[in-house]
């Protein structure tokens, strides 16, 4: 338990340290990969608030990510909005969409919830294709303006992208931590563990899980918004159910559900892996599937589970040493 709390601060500290050391020296390719990792971490952390804390498997988040991306694309390209208002609008619209979806979906449980959100994800993907005047249909949006420059980063757009993404990740991580420690977060854990007991303790379970879903939808929208501005292009294929939505499940499960810092590790590992195995990109989804299967079968607590067990063993052996020394005296 204590180790868990330590990790909550150690992992972000490592990320910040790596960023401070690495950003000035990394080349554009590394910066780009790092930016994508950070984007996926934003998705993973906020999605963990839903999957990890409440135990509800939503497959509609690829769609919500898309809603954020398309909103930013439309507003900045067609309506001439600045990026920051567009980011806020994307998060809000995705959050509202998520809330509406949640109101419908939480009428169901278990597999029905997954199937229903999967259906919503598929309908959403179809809508991206069909609503051509807004989304550009199959062709999507091109020429989306990039992220605005932060002071001091005007001549290094890749560095600028990474720094902005990191800032959004910091907000997402901080907000998720606050959520976990709030009364609603506690209620979510109660819902995940035992709904009937939670009810009998007077916990408003409907409110708790609705908040978790909306929360994750807001940050899915924000991540989508960043994605649109960073890649300058959005097309429907990134938002199909089996694309980013499925990958987010993989990050969270592999990293360790319900820990918040675990999914960040999951995203780092899973995004970096195909980049390390250069040229293996055709195998990427296959490898994702295998990794997901491996973890759910053999290590359902994910990487976080390994780390926590290791930390526990170390602190225990430390204590044993101390007590032996005491005995020797």
């Amino acid at each position: 338990m204590k180790q868990e709390i330590t990790f909550r601060w150690v992992i972000p500290a490592i990320v910040v340290l790596l960023a401070v050391i690495g950003i000035p020296f990394a080349n554009d390719y590394l910066l780009y990969v790092a930016t994508i990792i950070v984007l996926m971490s934003i998705l993973a952390v906020s999605y963990d608030v839903l999957l990890g804390l409440t135990g509800y498997l939503s497959l509609a988040h690829g769609f919500l990510y898309g809603v954020g991306a398309y909103t930013t694309a439309y507003l900045t390209t067609n309506s001439g909005w600045g990026y920051w208002p567009a980011l806020v609008a994307s998060a809000v619209i995705s959050g509202v969409m998520g809330t509406v979806i949640a109101l419908v979906a939480f009428r169901t449980r278990g597999i029905y919830f997954a199937v229903l959100t999967l259906g919503i994800g598929l309908v959403g993907y179809q809508l991206f294709l069909v609503l051509e005047p807004i989304t550009g249909g199959v062709g999507g949006f091109i020429g989306i303006p990039g992220l605005p420059s932060l002071p001091g980063f005007a001549d290094a757009p890749q560095r600028n992208n990474l720094v902005i993404a990191l800032l959004v990740l910091a907000v997402a991580y901080g907000a998720s931590m606050l959520f976990l420690r709030s009364s609603i977060g506690a209620a979510c854990l109660a819902v995940r563990e035992d709904v009937v007991l939670a009810q009998s303790l007077g916990i408003r379970i409907g409110m708790a899980r609705l908040c978790a879903f909306s929360f994750s939808a807001v940050f899915a929208g924000a991540a989508g918004s960043l994605f649109a501005a960073i890649s300058n292009f959005v097309g429907p294929d990134d938002f199909s159910v089996m694309a980013t939505g499925f990958q987010t499940v993989v990050y969270v499960v592999v990293g360790g559900m319900g820990t918040l810092w675990g999914p960040v590790l999951g995203a780092v590992l899973i995004v970096a892996l195909p980049e390390i195995l250069r040229g293996a990109s055709t195998y990427a989804v296959f490898i994702y599937g295998l990794i997901l299967l491996f973890f759910i079968l053999f290590a359902p607590k994910g990487i976080a589970g390994f780390l926590l067990a290791a930390a526990k063993r170390m602190s225990r052996s430390g204590r044993v040493v101390i007590s032996k020394e005491a005995e020797a005296r």
């Binding site: 597999i111 599937g289 295998l290 079968l297």
Partner: protein, 289 residues
């Protein structure tokens, strides 16, 4: 417009029989073992792909169908043994994630072997029956008959055999079935084998009328889940009727409203049904009627 209605209904029945055929295997496994066997869609895809490969090597289509179906049975049993058995007590969430993972893995394996492009085969039974009101391909009639035959097959196995009795006992109460000396492992294997057999058979037959590609199972299996919601989990007759209803509905939507809305219409039905009846139209229906 309306004079085309009989034709649309026939088209709907033809599409519906393909849905029903896929839903049948899914509902059996879900009803007996409470496993949401998402990769059932990939078993369907493998049935089609195996048949395609065998026919491409010069084998007669009607010989290829049973061989491909049996090969799919092996895959189906493996799915359960590898992906579900060891986490059966781990709760719904693990089973769902495992199902999702295996589904992706099978899709990707198929892509690596056969590529992502769609393949088509010639219909083994060409020709069309024409009447004053509608026309229907002979092969479509065959699929319709096969759907009914599969339903009869499963019904007879469940209600007229010792194995079926054991399966039904297990679907009612795992613990009690075990106490009565029923070997759960063999019942699991048998249930998955029957489910996969129908799934593979469906793919093998339908591969001759739809394009064959690695993700071809995704949409049908989702439709099949919709049918389960409409027809009741574990309800065989509900799967058949639900399949036909959905098929006719889709064809009507696509004919009279917009073909782009065909799939959206289906999921709209799903959403509405689940809003009205969160546990499906028949709740947790009496299993295996």
């Amino acid at each position: 417009m309306l004079e085309l209605l009989p034709q649309q209904l026939v088209n709907g029945l033809a599409l519906g029989s393909s849905y029903a055929l896929i839903a049948l295997g899914l509902t059996l496994v879900f009803g007996v073992l409470q496993i949401p066997n998402f990769p059932h869609g990939e078993l369907y895809m493998l049935g089609a792909s195996f048949t395609y490969v065998l026919v491409a090597y010069g084998m007669n289509f009607w010989v290829a169908v049973p061989i491909a179906s049996l090969a799919v049975v092996i895959v189906g049993i493996l799915l359960d043994q590898v992906g579900y058995r060891r986490i059966d007590t781990g709760g719904n969430l693990s089973l769902m994630i495992s199902a999702l993972a295996m589904s992706t893995v099978l899709q990707q394996v198929a892509t690596l072997i056969w590529g992502a492009e769609p393949h088509t085969t010639l219909s083994p039974l060409p020709g069309v029956l024409r009447t004053a009101y509608f026309s229907i391909g002979y092969y479509q009639m065959l699929i319709f008959a096969a759907t009914i035959a599969c339903w009869l097959f499963v019904w007879v196995v469940l209600h007229r055999s010792r194995l079926g009795l054991a399966i039904r006992a297990m679907s009612q109460n795992k613990m009690a079935a075990q106490l009565m000396g029923i070997d759960l492992i063999w019942i699991r294997i048998a249930t998955f084998a029957i489910g996969a057999l129908i799934g593979g058979f469906a793919g093998s037959l339908l591969g001759a009328s739809f394009p064959i590609y690695p993700t071809m199972g995704l949409n049908p299996v989702l439709k099949a889940f919709v049918i389960l919601v409409i027809g009741g989990v574990g309800n065989l007759w509900g799967a058949i009727v639900g399949g036909f209803v959905l098929g006719i509905l889709e064809i009507l939507v696509s004919a009279y409203i917009s073909s782009q809305l065909q799939d959206i219409g289906t999921f709209a039905v799903l959403v509405i049904v689940l809003i009205v009846r969160p546990n499906g139209l028949f709740g947790r229906a009496e299993v295996l009627r």
